[in-house]
Symmetry: none
Subunit: 225 residues, 4 copies
Amino acid sequence: MPLKRLFDTQVKATRAKRERRKEARPGELLQAALDLFVEKGFAATRSEEVAARAGVSKGTLFLYFPSKEELFKAVVRENISGRFSQWNDEFVQFSGSTADMLHTCMDIWWSRVGDTQASGISKLMLGEACNFPELAAFYRQEVVQPGHALLARIVQRGIDSGEFRAVDASQTAFSVVASMVFVMMQRHTGGVCVPADTSFDPVAFLHHQVDLMVRGLQAPPTEAS
Amino acid sequence: MPLKRLFDTQVKATRAKRERRKEARPGELLQAALDLFVEKGFAATRSEEVAARAGVSKGTLFLYFPSKEELFKAVVRENISGRFSQWNDEFVQFSGSTADMLHTCMDIWWSRVGDTQASGISKLMLGEACNFPELAAFYRQEVVQPGHALLARIVQRGIDSGEFRAVDASQTAFSVVASMVFVMMQRHTGGVCVPADTSFDPVAFLHHQVDLMVRGLQAPPTEAS
Amino acid sequence: MPLKRLFDTQVKATRAKRERRKEARPGELLQAALDLFVEKGFAATRSEEVAARAGVSKGTLFLYFPSKEELFKAVVRENISGRFSQWNDEFVQFSGSTADMLHTCMDIWWSRVGDTQASGISKLMLGEACNFPELAAFYRQEVVQPGHALLARIVQRGIDSGEFRAVDASQTAFSVVASMVFVMMQRHTGGVCVPADTSFDPVAFLHHQVDLMVRGLQAPPTEAS
Amino acid sequence: MPLKRLFDTQVKATRAKRERRKEARPGELLQAALDLFVEKGFAATRSEEVAARAGVSKGTLFLYFPSKEELFKAVVRENISGRFSQWNDEFVQFSGSTADMLHTCMDIWWSRVGDTQASGISKLMLGEACNFPELAAFYRQEVVQPGHALLARIVQRGIDSGEFRAVDASQTAFSVVASMVFVMMQRHTGGVCVPADTSFDPVAFLHHQVDLMVRGLQAPPTEAS
DNA sequence: GATGAATGAGGATTCATTCAT
DNA sequence: CATGAATGAATCCTCATTCAT
């Protein structure tokens, strides 16, 4: 094989590998950034660290994201995509009691969000909302709105079926959200939300909350019966 | 008027203006710091800004608070922890039902903390806890611990009086805290916690929450058995 | 006694006391400054500390000395005054051998300078000479010159009496000075001049030095004897 | 020339300039720091000045040295401690008399340290030791300890060979150090250690000192006994 | 004269961002 | 495209000095 061919081949191979990596780059960077932002917050995460964790150099990071702020936005956007439609479908088909549905809802949330880095993003979002208003708006629309709608729908189902009293479903949905927010905060602040000498089991808490809520919602025993 | 009196008065007058300012300084600085911390977060608030807003120079700030972290601690003490004992006292004397007590508790919290910049401090703390572990520990000890204890005590009172079922008082206290956290977050993130098209009335929410909780806690009717 | 008289008396008494103190002020400040400069060096000594140690307020210090630099100069000038003439006289009358004279010289230096804050001033002077050239010139003239002359005279006495070889008396005087400088440095630097695991006894060192020097200076045994 | 060779060469050429600069940086910075520390002292030298003199920006300095103190340590290592082992080796091989060895020692010290900015560092250290205890400890360990050990070894060699009386080698080593300290002080204080009207030749002084010392150390003639 | 509250220039250090290679 | 050396704006904190009282 002539030298030129060989060289060309090498170059191609090199380029091919590079391009494969190149396409993966943004994703690797976003993942690294996600990890670090969740772990240390926006301000405390250094650009260089993100690059290092993604296995590239500082300069490369800025090749893909024009600034740290844009990187942050990209991280949030990337990780906030709506898994709600899928989620919603699961609930549409649910056939048990609404009380069970709420417990199931918490379990699913915990396994898919709460116990995941995804909860870190939400916590981060809440922390930095003031500094990134457009991002906050985006989050509100993509996460908060559908989430709240889903929960309100569940509560409404309970009302419609006679399991629950006729309460304000939207207001009640916030009760569920509040529990989630509390758990996320607790998890991603090193436990500041709970006294140092008190243990906190998120799953137990979530079910305690649902239990309390369900009892509170259940229609009072009809006198006649 | 005897000469001595006159002399004394003059001395007092002479020192008065200065000292009045000196005594007012810490308060002015704390207020400025509170405003800015709540508005921009701890890390993003520059010491000099705090000084400027209090109408003094950079150096003066450090005359009263040895460091930015100590300033923050002082803000927390001034606005939150300092109020617990007084708060606690009010509840010790409370003579109504525990359900009423919880409603009152929310009202008081709302008027003294939630509807105040003090709630911004708590939100802030949650946002920056990871980056300032020492402050977090301080907050946990000075605010979270006594706050949680106070709420747990109220729940326990309900159990002891037979108003409530025998639940885990500590766990249940978190329900109340979660509501407060939710409200604080909503308030200090420009409303991200609630869908854009949905109105949110914090006071209504808090009472809705207490109402739900109280119903959920109330001992089931004993007659049937 | 009428009030006015009484008051006047008080005022006078107050004034008297004040004036007495006032006259003492510069001295007290200089003493405080001496202590601190010797202990911590020029840069590390804070003006306020000097004032505090002298029992006055920061402002008062600047009433007597226009700046920290001027204070330093005053301290050096104050503490460097020539005790050399007196010293010289003592030696003129000395009747023993020159070897003894050198040993005595060291003893006197040690008790009057080396073991005193006065040595701190010299050490300070050497450290800050570049930053205070005029002061250095003053020191050179008031301390170094007469000191060196005194020592050279002693060596010359030994030569003249035949105790010592005919060496360069001036050069040899530096040998003595070098020992003193070494001791001062060791004493006022926390011992940097000597390995950490080695003990250093200044007096023993000084006499060891003189002993070595004297032996080195002694005229070689005249062959004839 | 094969293509590969050519390509390699280009790559080398491409990186050459950058890397040459990068490799030169620490040296340039150390030189700048040495100059400035010697000229103005440690505390009075601003980091930015060092950078400026080395022709780089403030930030670059901290790219190579994590703090001003570490920079100082590096300067000491580069200019003093780093040279001891080499120095020591030279003496191990020395075959002449110990008297000659001491004279040689002074010559070497003078040419490598005394007549160099390295002596400025030592002088500096003595001036600032109190304020930077950590640096002082470092210097003591890295410079004073090995230096003193080296000198004591030389003296001991003379004793062992019968050239010198049986004196305390450690104590005697200080005699040599004292001479060096004196010379350094004289050199780096604008000459304060010597009267203004007296000339001072460091080399002559050093040899005068060694001469005196050697004579003082030489074993007394044994014939008489 | 004294006081001590207030000042603000100054200095070490960090880190997002740029750009020559 | 990728790199990583270089930059310099930004920020906390200190302390000599001033000046209203």
